[in-house]
């Protein structure tokens, strides 16, 4: 049975592969269009129906311009030039252009509220290096651009934002008022207590590494929240917690957080400023310094939470060689395999964001996880519904998901 379970996906994979590859083989290259062009010295027929209007859903700095392609588009035209003026009589200046076959252009250089006049020049064969046979469309104008107060193309995102926020807030309040919540075990977070306990027994340090991104990354914010809980456990068990950081703003925030945790458990005097210290902004300088500290001070526990890049494995392998218990959490997909390989426990992606809530065990924070799950359920439903609805009814379900 076990063997069958192991072999099954492989069989599927092989089947899928072979089908895919066979089909790729059967693809036929489209024949090349070999029609040759004869360049004439006649000016091309002028483009018609020029139209310009304010670009919708923007700040008012652009204008959409459309025209019907010249009847000679496929033969004589080489390109179109878009000309603009403040008055119908000119002077007109070139604001841009398109290649043949393209009958629309967005002028990004307009000021809102001002009147503009446009015309299009279809250019034909070159006469000299800089002059062409060409013909002009009639002038269109005036067109005025303006800014809008709501981007209607984003109303679907607004809808999602409201629904997700509402579900998170709803469950936070329900949890606050005593509603029961089940949250599955997250092994990596459960291990934090034990890992710090081990450091206490061994009388060694705990290192907390908050990643190398600055405060403008939500992973760092999540990491600081986890640090708050970890510092509390460390303070309670009187274990020395050291936090080397690589960004100055993180230094300030982390120091405040740790200090606060110490005073919350009634040990403000045990906190020392140098517990949280800045090393360098540099990714590998930071890694080199932590490597040195780990080898020389032999911490019992290393906790990595936040945004990590290539340094993840340098840190985790050195910590491993030093015999530390290691717990990692990051939302960087490329680094996860290495944390999984070199650490004892790893929080994968979304679990990092759940960690502080899970650690705190506060109902309102746990409630937000439940709200998050509602969002996930909605996303899963939209994958299935989206596929079914679009295939069966041809209704544009994807409107709900399109981002622009």
């Amino acid at each position: 049975m076990k063997v069958a379970r192991a072999v099954f996906p492989l069989v599927i994979l092989t089947l899928a592969l072979s089908c895919n590859l066979m089909a790729q083989k059967m693809k036929i290259e489209p024949a090349l269009d070999t029609a040759t062009q004869v360049i004439t010295q006649q000016p091309p027929i002028a483009p018609l129906n020029l139209f310009a209007e304010d670009t919708p859903d923007d700040a008012g700095n652009s204008m959409d311009i459309r025209w019907d392609l010249s009847a000679d588009d496929s033969a004589d035209v080489t390109n179109y030039q878009v000309l603009r003026s403040d008055s119908p009589d000119g002077p007109f200046v070139v604001v841009g252009g398109t290649t043949k076959g393209q009958g629309s252009f967005t002028d990004n250089t307009v000021k809102p509220g001002q009147k503009y006049y446009y015309k299009i020049v279809a250019q034909g064969a070159p006469l000299t290096d800089s002059t062409f046979v060409s013909s002009e469309s009639t002038v269109f104008g005036p067109a005025i651009s303006s800014g809008q107060w709501f981007n209607t193309r984003r109303s679907n995102v607004l809808l999602w934002t409201l629904v997700l926020s509402a579900s998170v807030i709803f469950f936070i309040y329900r949890a606050k008022s005593g509603g029961k919540l089940y949250i599955r075990k997250i092994a990596g977070i459960d291990a934090i207590d034990e890992a710090i306990g081990r450091a206490t027994e061994m009388g060694r340090k705990v290192f907390y590494v908050p990643g190398i991104n600055d405060m403008d990354d939500v992973q760092t914010l999540a990491s600081i929240a986890i640090l708050g809980r970890v510092a509390r456990i460390a303070a309670e068990s009187d274990t020395y917690l050291e936090v080397p950081v690589s960004k100055s703003l993180v230094l300030i925030t982390a120091r405040e957080t740790v200090k606060e945790s110490y005073s919350k458990v009634g040990r403000p005097d045990s906190f020392r400023e140098e517990q949280v210290h800045y090393v360098t902004d540099d990714q590998f300088g930071y890694a080199a310094a932590i490597d040195g500290m780990v080898v020389r001070e032999q911490p019992a526990t290393m906790i990595y939470m936040g945004a990590f890049y290539a340094e993840s494995l340098i840190l985790a392998e050195t910590g491993n060689a030093a015999g530390a218990i290691q717990i990692a959490g990051t939302a960087m997909p490329a680094q996860l395999p290495f944390f999984v390989a070199a650490c004892d426990y790893t929080l994968i992606g979304e679990e990092l964001f759940a960690a502080s809530a899970y650690l705190s065990r506060e109902p309102k924070l746990l409630g937000s996880l439940k709200g998050q799950d509602v969002g996930k359920a909605l996303f899963l439903a939209s994958i299935i519904l989206g596929i079914i609805i679009e295939i069966v009814t041809k209704v544009d379900f994807q409107w709900l998901l399109r981002v622009s």
Binding site: G96, G97, N108, T109, E194, A195, R198, A310, I325, A334
Partner: protein, 328 residues
């Protein structure tokens, strides 16, 4: 005694560094012999591991070091297939008529140079040889300086040196501009506004190559070398999606997996991924360079890493490797 060994090794290296003038090269026979020896050593490791004596990690380090260094002295090349995404990029470049203007954005710094510099060098040589005009910029501070290294490498080529490209006419280096993706956005309207002067403070308007170059509509192709943010993703999202200029890119291997979806969707015109992408590009542009000499070492290293994974696993199933006791 143990303490003296590193000092002796260091001294030998110093002597070589100071006085050596001759280059080492192994003959084919020696190369094969060395490879076989390396294989035998791996088998010894396998036997040791199965019998429960896991080797120290320093020995693993030694293996990697040796298997990367030795191929540098070997003199044979491996057959190389050019993958479709590299071919797409080359085809797009090869289709450009003489005198086309290509914007080369070097968005990386020295630590990523081993992977990206060979691509840059090959591109620059190819462009100069085929009379393609190159406009260099960088969204990373060190990028334009890396580009200058590529230019120098190209100018050192004897054939190109016969008809050297002129600065300001055939190529220009506009330097670095801060602002990440907002720079690309701004270039869509006016390149001049983002790069008022070149790297050497020559005003934009007095550079002959840039006459008539207003924005992306005057650029025929964008060649981007990227090691992260800002990089290929931003070029695709802004230059391709909003301004419609074709972009082809070279990426570090770490970044390439995240960029693959754009190749699949056709937004990105070809992708060179990591060292092997660089080697394939060198092959198809017929500009052999560093990536090709590195590729043998790269192959060795992959095989050794795979070997270690297999050894570890064979030992798991057959042997008595101790597992780490669970904590608690």
């Amino acid at each position: 005694m143990k303490k003296i060994i590193p000092i002796i090794v260091l001294l030998i290296l110093f002597v070589i560094a100071l006085f050596n003038k001759s280059q080492l090269e192994m003959s084919a026979g020696v190369s094969i012999l060395v490879t076989i020896l390396l294989g035998i050593a791996m088998i010894v490791v396998l036997i040791l591991t199965i019998s429960g004596r896991s080797i120290e990690r320093r020995i693993v380090f030694l293996f990697i070091g040796v298997s990367l260094i030795l191929p540098f002295f070997m003199n044979f090349t491996l057959p190389l297939q050019v993958s479709p995404e590299v071919r797409t990029l080359y085809d797009a470049l090869a289709k450009l008529p003489k005198g086309s203007k290509v914007l080369a954005s070097y968005d990386y710094d020295p630590p990523s140079a081993p992977e990206l510099q060979p691509m840059g060098d090959a591109f620059m040589k190819w462009a100069f040889r085929h009379d393609i005009k190159v406009i260099i910029i960088g969204l990373w501070p060190q990028g334009p300086l890396q580009a200058n290294l590529s230019v120098n490498a190209a100018l050192a080529d004897p054939e190109i040196a016969k008809h050297p490209p002129k600065y300001g006419v055939d190529y220009v280096n506009l330097g670095y501009q801060s602002g990440n993706e907002f720079v690309i956005q701004g270039m869509g309207t006016s390149i001049r506004s983002k790069f008022p002067s070149d790297l050497y403070n020559t005003p934009y308007d007095s550079i002959p190559l840039l006459r008539g170059v207003e924005n992306f509509s005057n650029i025929d192709f964008v060649f981007n070398l990227s090691a992260g943010y800002p990089g290929t993703v931003e070029w695709v999202q802004i230059a391709v999606d909003r301004f419609g200029v074709p972009v082809g890119a070279g990426n570090t291997a770490v970044q390439a997996p995240q960029v693959y979806p754009y190749v699949e969707s056709g937004q990105l015109t070809g992708l060179l991924g990591g060292m092997s992408g660089g080697a394939e590009f060198e092959k198809i542009t017929k500009e052999p360079g560093q990536a090709n000499t590195f590729l043998l070492s790269q192959s060795f290293a992959h095989v050794v890493v795979i070997g270690f994974i297999l050894i570890g696993n064979v030992a798991l199933f057959m042997g008595k490797t101790k597992r780490r006791p669970p904590i608690g």
